[in-house]
């Protein structure tokens, strides 16, 4: 098992990169909505992304965020 500092040493930059990519994707979506003249506002996948960000930003009792996200993005069991 890695120490907490080692986890950050190994994965901080990678996580930073992925978060910036998510931010860029949301910006891209917003610009597309703003410039679309046909009233295409996307669909509920964008809401799933925002819901997933809430899961990421919450302090969890148990480290199961990836499991929670997979359930969020899953169809009915």
């Amino acid at each position: 098992m890695l120490t907490p500092s080692k986890v950050l040493d190994l994965y901080f930059l990678e996580a930073r990169c992925m978060l910036i990519e998510v931010a860029a994707t949301l910006d891209r979506f917003d610009r597309a909505v703003d410039s679309d003249t046909n009233g295409d506002g996307g669909d509920d996948r964008i809401e799933k992304l925002y819901e997933s960000l809430q899961v990421l930003s919450s302090k969890s009792e148990t480290p199961d965020r990836s499991e929670q996200l997979l359930k969020l993005f899953s169809g009915p069991a």
Partner: protein, 292 residues
């Protein structure tokens, strides 16, 4: 499609990169001087390094039909040693005379220390004195915002022609002041630490393509020279024309680098290339009857 790699550290890469670049349309690479991963102790080590990227790398590139150009500089990390830096700077004019040397780069800042700023200023002044192009490295990660601002402040006090200065490694939080001040801006595509191909295309959509260069800065660390081709694909996938792609990934480097007459690649138009490709081949002269 023809592509120019404007910022590429070939010394750190294998010949296979050259081969794959040639196969994917790269016709020229430009190699700025950079940090070797450790601080060099002797001026002569820099001089031999400049000889390697100025004399030897062009022969490796030529094996694959790629033109190779280079830049000389003391990088910001080693600029922390002013005595060593000044000894190296004395030799720059010898390299400016070479037929494939484009100017001073990549100079700039790393941690924005007083020594770094002093040697950066001296290198820019030397470039101006010798009418050379200038390529500037902006710092990494958490140091980028402050370092970019310091670079712009330092340049403000120097007699540079802003159209001959390329400030590289810009991202969403630093591109605007660079372009607003009239400099060229570069996006450097890395797998993790700088800009991604998708974000680069976002910025192209937001800021347009004027005074923008895109490069993949392949080096000895985690990097991927083909992020540039990935960016071309992403740009085309969003519905942009082949000519628009050529303007960014080929013609813009020609526009900036061509301000130094040594960089003599022509501007290209897709239509003219098509006409050339479709023109009937010249018929060989009829052979004399006695040789039939």
């Amino acid at each position: 499609m023809q592509i120019i790699q404007p910022h590429y550290h070939a010394i750190a890469r294998t010949a296979q990169d050259y081969e794959r670049m040639a196969m994917s349309g790269v016709v020229a690479v430009c190699e700025p001087a950079f940090w070797a991963g450790f601080d060099r102790k002797y001026p002569e080590t820099f001089i031999d390094y400049f000889r390697q990227i100025g004399e030897f790398e062009p022969t490796r590139a030529a094996d694959y039909g790629i033109r190779h150009f280079f830049w000389v500089a003391v990088n910001p990390k080693e600029a922390e040693n002013p005595e060593l830096s000044r000894e190296v700077l004395k030799k720059f004019p010898d390299f400016f005379e070479m037929p494939n040397c484009l100017g001073v780069g990549e100079t700039g800042l790393h941690k924005s220390t007083a020594n770094e700023a002093m040697i950066f200023e001296e290198q820019v002044s030397l470039a101006v004195e010798h009418d050379q192009l200038i390529l500037i490295h902006t710092p990494h990660l958490e140091d980028k915002t402050h370092g970019t601002r310091r670079i712009l402040e330092i340049l403000e006090g120097l007699p540079v022609d802003r159209n001959r200065v390329w400030i590289d490694h810009a991202e969403e939080h630093t591109i605007r002041p660079i372009l607003d001040a009239g400099y060229w801006s570069g996006f450097t595509l890395y797998p993790i630490t700088k800009c991604s191909p998708k974000r680069a295309v976002d910025m192209l959509e937001l800021y347009g393509r004027e005074r923008i260069l895109v490069n993949s800065s392949a080096d000895w660390g985690p990097s991927d020279p083909f992020t540039l081709q990935e960016c071309v694909c992403e740009y085309r996938r969003r519905g942009n024309s082949l000519q628009d792609a050529m303007e960014i990934f080929y013609n813009n480097p020609v526009r900036f680098l061509g301000q130094n007459p040594k960089f003599d690649l022509p501007l290209l138009k897709v239509e003219e290339m098509r006409e050339e490709a479709e023109a009937p081949a010249e018929q060989p002269a009829e052979e004399p009857a006695d040789r039939a």
